[in-house]
């Protein structure tokens, strides 16, 4: 690289906003690795589709259904990590001001609400899976049993509820 007449160095260090994670009982690496795998798969499948269509004028119709399923998995799995790291979109204006006691109480309240919602979704979605199974629903694209997809909703919802509970407990400890 010809540094002498470049006004700015070309390889500026990239901006890292990451703070070190709080320690959790169940390692966050589980979600992180799943996130990386699913993100990579999504990119590869869609790219393969473009290439295949370019060369063969055919597209894999089945990939659309599978990609949508992977995206749902991504939202739930990476969402679980984001709950543990407390990175959800929220209004910080009031919750992150005032006394430390108030901030902690509001953080706990928020975590509790996330727990309640996803515990509710986990319980209710078991019924959805059971209906899909009982009535033998098949997926519209590939025609495989629908419950193969929906079974993951209660599983990952439970994980998110667990992460929210973990955050609730951690915020309750004295710093």
């Amino acid at each position: 690289m010809s540094q002498h007449h470049d006004p700015e160095a070309l390889n500026t260090p990239v901006f890292e906003a990451d703070e070190p994670d709080e320690s959790t009982r169940i390692p966050l690496q589980i979600e992180d690795w799943l996130t990386v795998i699913v993100m990579g798969l999504l990119a590869l499948i869609t790219f393969a589709n473009v290439i295949a269509r370019y060369f063969t004028d055919q597209s894999f119709a089945w990939t659309e259904e599978f990609s949508v399923f992977l995206m749902i998995v991504l939202a739930l799995v990476a969402g679980s990590a984001s709950v543990a790291r407390n990175r959800q979109i929220r209004i910080e204006y009031f919750a992150d001001s005032g006394s430390e006691k108030r901030q902690r109480a509001l953080a706990r309240f928020g975590a509790l609400m996330v727990f309640v919602l996803f515990a509710l979704i986990a319980v209710l979605s078991v019924r959805v899976v059971w209906d899909d199974f009982r009535f033998g629903e098949t997926s519209p694209g590939i025609g495989i049993p629908q419950w193969w997809y929906t079974i993951w909703l209660p599983v990952f919802s439970t994980a998110i509820a667990g992460r929210a509970l973990g955050l609730f407990i951690r915020r309750g400890r004295q710093p």
Binding site: E8, L10, F94, D96, V114
Partner: protein, 432 residues
């Protein structure tokens, strides 16, 4: 009664700092249960069904892919080379570096789809450079935060993808095309007060003494970055790929440039890139899916029509209503991010849009312009948050500078309202 409860519960939870998605989902679930006391399980089975259905839409796949594009180009070394090339064109002088920051942010807007990613990429390069040239850090942070707001107007844009999923009559290509002219206008509208302020306050005293990069060499080095929007936007225009596919092509192009050409991305960086963009996408997607529960409860309760009728028959007239909506959205936008604004308000406002027969594409551009303004309006300004963190200043310090930029970009929004053709001409010309 139930509708009032829905809104009160939702607003209180949000203000207390409960995640927006959880507030939407819980308020929706509570109302579904209250409205169906007789039904099996209080009709709550609709909660997981709507959650799943809200997420299971193929067009939404463009969101994680464009977030990934932003994360990759953030690290690809393209921004620095574009900056050098821009300096080589406009030269050195008072107010030139801030102008370069805005031009490069606009150009990167043609690659990435989200404001904060753009602010991080431009800020990492420009804030240090501007401080060496003698610009105050708070001013640099303001310029970068405001400039990055043009990103969601200039295609590709995550905001338009979310809007298109919510509104049946507005396709992603049409919205992308419609954002082009207002996006460029917004950029120009930012350059004017920025250069004027820099000259008036005699900032950047050292700038004219810094070396000017050689034109041809900087052009050659910037060429990989310069080609990216042509590939993305041109490929979509030529019908080679859908928006989602264009994003994926950009992902691999960005990886090739970053890993092979500029060598700023190493193999182990891939883990961080995929993890970060996956998590950021999930945060957006979860709000999208939980808003599905909220929207369902709104539609079953039938509260939208009476409210719409009241607004439409209030005697304010078409532009009175529009002015009121914008005033309300600007207030809300000070506290709420863009995607959440779309998810909460588009279902509410849709009947009003239909009543006045507003063009859905035009209305989407107006809403996005408003969201872009909100991205650098303190106290909740996502772009300023990023640029202030890089510059090491508090957001309060930027208030002095962002005011004029906000006003100038607000005028662009007024212009698009007054002359809808600014937004609708290009998609019409391209035949979307």
């Amino acid at each position: 009664m139930i509708a009032t409860l829905l809104f009160v519960a939702f607003v209180v939870m949000m203000l207390l700092g409960v995640p927006i998605g959880a507030a939407l989902g819980l308020a929706g679930a509570a109302c579904i249960a209250l409205a169906n006391p007789e039904a099996q399980w209080f009709g709550l089975l609709a909660v997981p069904q709507n959650f799943y259905a809200g997420l299971g839409k193929y067009p939404l796949l463009a969101i994680p892919m464009f977030v990934l594009v932003g994360s990759i180009f953030d690290r690809s070394g393209v921004a620095q080379r574009l900056v050098n090339f821009a300096i080589a064109i406009v030269g050195r002088g008072p107010g030139m570096l801030p102008m370069v920051a805005i031009l490069v942010a606009m150009f990167l807007g043609g690659i990435s789809g989200s404001g904060p990613a753009n602010a991080a990429a431009v800020g990492a390069v420009m804030i240090a450079a501007m401080s060496r040239a003698g610009y105050p850090a708070a001013f640099s942070a303001s310029v970068v935060g405001a400039a990055a707001a043009t990103d969601i107007l200039i295609p590709p844009s995550v905001a338009f993808i979310v809007y298109s999923v919510l509104v049946p009559g507005a396709s992603v290509p049409a919205l992308f095309a419609a954002g082009m002219v207002p996006g460029v206008l917004a950029g120009i509208a930012l350059i004017v007060p920025t250069v004027w302020m820099a000259r008036k306050h005699k900032m950047g005293a050292h700038e004219s003494s810094l070396p000017r990069p050689l034109f041809w060499q900087s052009l050659r080095e910037a060429s990989w970055g310069l080609a990216a929007p042509i590939l993305i936007l041109g490929g979509m225009r030529a019908g080679w790929f859908t928006p989602t596919e264009a994003a994926v092509v950009a992902v691999f192009y960005g990886l090739f440039v970053g890993m092979v050409i500029h060598r700023t991305i190493r193999v182990r960086d891939l883990f961080v890139i995929l993890r970060e963009s996956g998590e950021l996408s999930a945060v957006i997607l979860l709000v999208v899916s939980l808003a599905g529960i909220f929207a369902f409860s709104l539609s079953t309760l039938g509260v939208i029509d009476p409210v719409t009728n009241a607004i439409v028959n209030s005697g304010l007239g078409e532009y009175g209503v529009l002015a009121l909506l914008i005033l309300m959205l600007i207030t809300v936008g000070m506290f709420l991010d863009g995607v959440s604004i779309f998810l909460i308000f588009v279902p509410l406002l849709w009947p009003i849009v239909q009543h006045y027969q507003w063009d859905p594409v035009w209305f989407g551009v107006i809403l996005t312009l408003k969201v872009a303004l909100g991205q650098f309006t303190p106290p909740l300004a996502v772009n300023l948050m990023v640029s202030c963190r890089i510059a090491g200043v508090r957001m309060e310090d930027t208030v002095r500078w962002v005011g004029w930029m906000l006003f100038s970009m607000f005028l662009v929004m007024v212009a698009v309202i007054a002359w809808p053709d600014l937004a609708t001409w290009l998609p019409r010309y391209l035949g979307y």
